[in-house]
Symmetry: C2
Subunit: 141 residues, 2 copies
């Protein structure tokens, strides 16, 4: 798997220079937590307001409680989401963005807003592609 | 799986209002193509310059040729990436962003830049979390 890197900007100090392009760089780990549908949607939800677990589950269509728990745990560990417990009976648990998470969620929200605004153009492109590629749908490398 | 949605903003017209939160909305499909590590890294690569297949493969650490092909095909179908073939022997194939893809890649680049800049803060948070949760590493819901 140790493939020779042939691009013009191939770095000498890999992790420092390549960042998330390097699978061994810590920034790639963070990218993996954030750049997936669930991380993106959790951050977008919490960007608008703190939320409880079941409200997150009900807002994010298709997420299982297991996936929500796992992704929340990663985001909490990354210092992006904070989990507050009120000592009521039963305890009331609320998830919110940390200041670091708010910075990130601003970018994620911009991305999600763009996707939402441009979905019609993308769906139109998909239809054009499908119409042109009915006999040869797979462009090879 | 048809779960009752209980949040305050639960929409009456789901797809139109909820966007990518709705697993049936076309915008969720686009989010799935874009908000994953490979889509993000491909768009970031092409944001700097048009690239050939093998240069993309060598720049994006850990991606297999199969995953690169599949993700490029999705991004081409979405109208975000364009594939140009020069009629040389052998044919020279280059991938670049469409104008629509350039709009999106601006947002993705901002996200990747933020992650790269803030990785140290996130790694520090991970260490604090791990130190505090050696006996109880899993926060439950």
């Amino acid at each position: 798997m140790a493939r020779t890197r042939t691009t013009a900007n191939a770095p000498t100090t890999r992790a420092a220079v390549r960042g998330p392009f390097d699978e061994d760089c810590p920034s790639r780990v963070v990218l993996n937590h954030v750049a997936n549908r669930w991380g993106t949607l959790i951050l977008t939800c919490l960007h608008s307001q703190p939320m409880r677990f079941h409200a997150l589950r009900d807002t994010i269509g298709g997420i299982s409680e297991k996936m929500l728990s796992q992704n929340l745990r990663l985001l909490i560990r990354d210092g992006l989401v904070q989990r507050d417990v009120e000592p009521t009976t039963p305890p009331k648990v609320t998830y919110s963005l940390t200041p670091l998470g708010k910075e990130l969620a601003d970018h994620v929200q911009a991305l999600v807003d763009w996707i939402t605004a441009r979905t019609d153009a993308i769906v139109a492109a998909q239809r054009r592609y499908d119409a042109q590629n009915t006999t040869n749908p797979t462009p090879d490398a």
